[in-house]
Amino acid sequence: MHIGIDVGGTNTDAVLMDGDVLVDKIKNPTTDDVTSGIIACINTLNGSKPDNTHIEAVMLGTTHFVNALLQRKELAPSAALRLCLPATTMLPPLVDWPSDLKDSIGGHTYMASGGHEYDGREISPIDENELREIARKMNGEGVRSVSISGVFSTVDDSHEKIAADIIKSETPDMNITLSSEIGRIGILERENAAMLNACLVEVAAKTVAAIQAAMASSGLDVPLFFSQNDGTLMQSEFAAQYPVFTIASGPTNSMRGAAFLSGVLDAVIIDIGGTSTDGGMLIHGFPREAIVAVDVAGVRTNFRMPDVFSIALGGGSLIKQNPFMIGPESVGFRLVEDGIVFGGEKLTATDIAVASGIAEVGNPDLVTNIDSSFAEDTINEIQKRVEDVIDQLKISSQPVPVVLVGGGSILVKNSFEGASDILRPSNADVANAIGAAIAQVGGQVEKVYSLTDMSRSEALRLAKDEAINKAIEAGGDPKSIEIVDIEEIPLAYLPSNALRIKIKAVGDLNKPK
């Protein structure tokens, strides 16, 4: 059995899953220290499992690390080291960071020799003495964590690795993050992502250790996994080194959990809350990724993040008659006090849904004076707006199943243009925790290959092998690993042979021996 846990801003939810079956679920308030709330959930579920069964693994999705960034709390004094000279100097590391975040980690930046061209040639060789001097300098400045970013390390990561060895030998206690292990092409964005990771490794190590210790003291000696942004898992030792991969796991887990509860792999997931409607698209069970740069705590990065589309429409959205408006203002969580059906005085989308007869909440007698044709027009407009979100999320004009979750989903009827099916799963309140519990492990590669010395099929094979190896390293059962996504993009304006390949492999977790 697996325990899946989701640590949200308000609640820590947990589920006990026996394969595909939900055995038990629990909600506890999220605690300040995060860990005690997690432990309370684990202990309850561990106690409630049937006698002849045992827990095989605990899967955790958490927003703890992104909160550390947002609050500029517990961040390690960190340095960004770029291997690039004499190229790529005009925009130094951290150039586009918010100044308060930069200040909170010390703002140390260095540029040194090294890095590669797009076709794998060196820009310049690594200079060992230069790096030793930088290591000593960083140490003297109190830096405890460093990100190393080589130009085109997505083509060749050897310089980043050599630089890491040199720094490690000079300053053995330094935490090191390599950009080639974090992001994809785009030096500024990848370097930024590596730097966010660098400043989070201390708090990550602390958190992981605390949870592991608490699990051990509860007699639960099983592997601990963390959910990643892309919907796959990583072992806790990896999470301690790569906390940045967890920061968008929330929406991903929620979408995957909702789809799982509905029994679909390809679907549009629509979550209608009190203030907003958020939607995402799952393709073969994984979220469609955003293609533009993603802002994390004010820093531009190029992580693989789920593409989430939001509009200001929810159960608490205020309805105005003249001029006619739905939202964007909302009473939010105060709906149960301010909404007319609940005895309040503000006309909300929920009141309209009750007046029109599609929803049954609160006291319907309080909305009998709402003009029925106005109610109907408003409901039709809400339906149309949600339909529009669905359409923007789809990848083609083919109809797809639509999964509706969230308290505000009572606002919409079961008929959408372009939807093959409308699903409203039960237990959607713990979709995030379920999404964590059912996750597989994966490996992703995105690199530019020069085809002067190798064929296209050879490049593809190399990329595939690397993705599969990454999935095995992450704890995957080699027999179950399959390639789920391949994309090839030749480089434009470059009539020589260079190809960008993007591959993703996923597989089931190894069974414990």
Partner: protein, 360 residues
């Protein structure tokens, strides 16, 4: 009217949007170029912009631009290559430049002249050699109207310089410069043929930096005021809405350095029952309403996000986007027989006649 302005950090935000629109789907994203120019302007102060009419007979204007693959440029970010190229041309000709002009206002090359201008303390001229984006070096109005495409200096960031001192024509310059660029690591810059005030006034597309700034500014103002960015754009630059709808199909293949393909847009609102197909080769080249051509290169076909007025480059096109397709007339210099021979439909392999957008 004679006037002058300075490029401020805030102007760069506007120029990036406007240059993206004039990029007609290609030209590379101006974001990184904007950051580079910002760094320099912050340090050295605003860059002065000269109206082409302000130039006098003593002026010597050098054209600069970036050459290479935009995808490589986001990894190995350009440094001072265009400044080195400017210096190389000055050394070779033995004459000092008094102002810089952009080769291409569409996309990332719109801001490239600001780098050498800031470093050398020179003004930029409010004009360029295309009035839009085109994929190859020879596709500049200067060369169509008799300016020789050499001498040309191509520089990398390491200190390498290649000089092209003579060539049969612009296409040869393109071939040689492209080959050198690949060896230099695919993000080089070049400087070209110093020109006189009169040559700029007669062979360049005029007032295009102002145009890019004004287009971008209009979009930003409209967004803040919750007004329609499309109407705001059309108030700045005379053009027309060709179509409005949502993208229902994108088909792309990349061959020999060109992102070729087509995008199909299904009509919305007053275009409800129609379909628009746009064929692109890095830039958008032909727009067909149902099967009839309604806009064709060198006229500008610009795809923007209907709600935000944000330009959408060909690599970002995908199903579901709500877009408005705008047509802007090409600069007159492109519409002559000589202009069309260099950058008309035939130059891109289309066996169709150019039809003037303004007459359609």
């Amino acid at each position: 009217m004679i006037y002058m302005w300075n490029v401020s950090e805030d102007d760069l935000e506007s120029i990036a949007i406007g240059a993206g629109i004039l990029g007609t789907g290609g030209g590379g994203n101006p974001y990184i170029g904007m950051l580079r120019a910002k760094q320099l302007i912050r340090k050295n102060g605003p860059v002065q912009v000269l109206s082409p009419e302000e130039l006098d007979e003593n002026d010597l204007i050098v054209c600069v631009g970036g050459i290479g693959a935009p995808t490589v440029g986001i990894e190995k970010v350009r440094d001072k290559q265009s400044y080195y190229a400017l210096k190389a041309i000055e050394d070779f000709t033995g004459k000092k430049a008094t102002a810089i002009i952009s080769n291409e206002i569409g996309g990332s090359n719109s801001v490239e002249p600001l780098i050498p201008a800031s470093l050398a303390g020179l003004p930029v001229v409010d004009a360029d050699g295309m009035g839009r984006a085109f994929p190859e070096v020879q596709m500049k109005t200067f060369f169509v109207y008799g300016i020789p495409p050499y001498p040309m200096a191509v520089c990398d960031e390491k200190g390498n310089t290649a000089l092209i001192t003579e060539a049969l024509d612009g296409k040869w310059v393109e071939r040689m410069a492209r080959a050198v660029t690949i060896q230099m690591g695919a993000v080089a810059c070049y400087a070209l043929a110093p020109m006189s005030a009169h040559q700029i006034q007669t062979t360049a597309v005029l007032n295009t930096l102002s145009l890019a700034k004004n287009l971008g500014h209009a979009v930003r103002v409209a967004r803040t005021a919750n007004e329609d960015p499309i109407q705001a754009l059309l108030k700045v630059h005379a053009g027309k809405v060709l179509f409005q709808g949502k993208i229902i199909d994108v088909d792309r293949q990349t061959t020999a350095g060109f992102a070729r393909g087509q995008v199909v847009i299904e009509g919305m609102n007053k275009y409800e029952s129609d379909k628009l197909t746009i064929e692109f080769q890095n830039e958008n080249l032909i727009a067909r309403l149902n099967s009839e051509i309604i806009c064709i290169v060198p006229d500008l076909i610009c795809i923007v996000d209907t709600e935000r007025g944000e330009p959408i480059t060909t690599e970002l096109l995908r199903y579901g986007f709500r877009v408005t397709v705008l047509g802007f007339p090409a600069p007159e210099l492109w519409k002559t027989p000589e202009g069309l021979a260099t950058a008309g439909p035939a130059a891109f392999g289309y066996d169709v006649e150019y039809e003037d957008l303004q007459l359609m």
